[in-house]
């Protein structure tokens, strides 16, 4: 049990980063985080060490986060109240560049967001990203490019020098 606690402490940062990038800083994010470690605990007997523990945990985190997003069926919940009050265009005007980037990121399709989270936020290599998501390298690259393009187009006005 003590060894498992050490493992949780060691990998909490990675798991939290991935989940929060996908779900935002919401109460569900911590619930998903707990679920990740409990699932890993249950699967310890089956874990053969073919992949790194971190890879395995991040894979569970991504899958559970994507399930949570499907459950929500709305991608920008953290801005929902602002959208209702100001409309999308109104929000875009009020947000600063970093907030606008976060807003645009939340608007990405979950599949694009998953790739962008691993590669652009968490800093995994493209090969690792494809491996964690169990998709071909070419698919990872094309989703990555598409995600970045959407972000740039959404931020064009604010990115002008």
């Amino acid at each position: 049990m003590a060894a498992f606690k050490t493992l949780v402490v060691r990998h909490e940062g990675q798991v939290a980063g991935v989940i929060r990038s996908l779900l935002g800083t919401t109460p569900e994010a911590e619930d998903v985080g707990q679920e990740v470690f409990i699932r890993f605990y249950d699967a310890l007997n089956k874990f053969r060490g073919e992949s790194k523990v971190s890879t395995y945990l991040v894979r569970i985190a991504i899958n559970l986060s994507l399930n949570e997003l499907k459950k929500r069926k709305r991608t920008a919940s953290r801005y929902a109240s602002m959208e209702a009050a100001d409309g999308i265009k109104g929000i875009e005007e009020t947000l600063d560049l970093k907030e606008h980037l976060q807003y645009a990121f939340d608007k990405l399709d979950p599949d694009f967001r998953a790739v962008a989270t691993l590669r652009l936020i968490e800093g995994y290599s493209t090969e690792e990203t494809a491996g964690i998501l169990e998709i071909p390298l070419g698919t990872a690259l094309s989703r990555l490019a598409r995600a970045q393009q959407k972000l740039r187009l959404s931020l064009t006005k604010k990115l002008r020098p």
């Binding site: 049990m1 498992f4 606690k5 949780v8 402490v9 909490e12 940062g13 990675q14 939290a16 980063g17 929060r20 994010a29 911590e30 985080g33 707990q34 470690f37 409990i38 605990y41 560049l97 970093k98 980037l101 990121f105 962008a116 590669r119 652009l120 936020i121 968490e122 800093g123 493209t126 390298l137 690259l141 990555l144 490019a145 970045q148 393009q149 959407k150 972000l151 740039r152 187009l153 931020l155 064009t156 990115l159 020098p161």
Partner: protein, 139 residues
Amino acid sequence: MNDQFSEHEELLLRSWDAPVSARERDTLAEVIQNNPAIRQQSDQYQKIRTMLLRTEPDSFGPFFAERIMNMIKQRTQQIDYLIFFFFKKYQVLLVGVLVALLVSNMLLTDQLTLKGIFGLEQETTEDVFSIDLYENLIK
């Protein structure tokens, strides 16, 4: 807004995430130098990537590991209780069956004694002697 990739934009993005040939690298360098639109795009993409990249580790807040360990402990206790409860049902059933057998035994032998209940017949002195006599006769 045009969301189609230009050939150079695609190459630019690919150059950051996958290996490109020396020829492609040269082409890209030349385009960035001579094409202000691509240069601007390159700057914008780099700005986005820099802003997105996590520089500090994230966390679920203090005592997250402790919360996980408590959850695991509670769940294990719950499972133990469920196992105990599951087998307890069978223990009660077994006792019920035993009692039923003993009662049926008591009714069949029509004896309200422990020996009757447990199916142990009481042998009288006459019974014992009659057996001895019978055995003597045979001899």
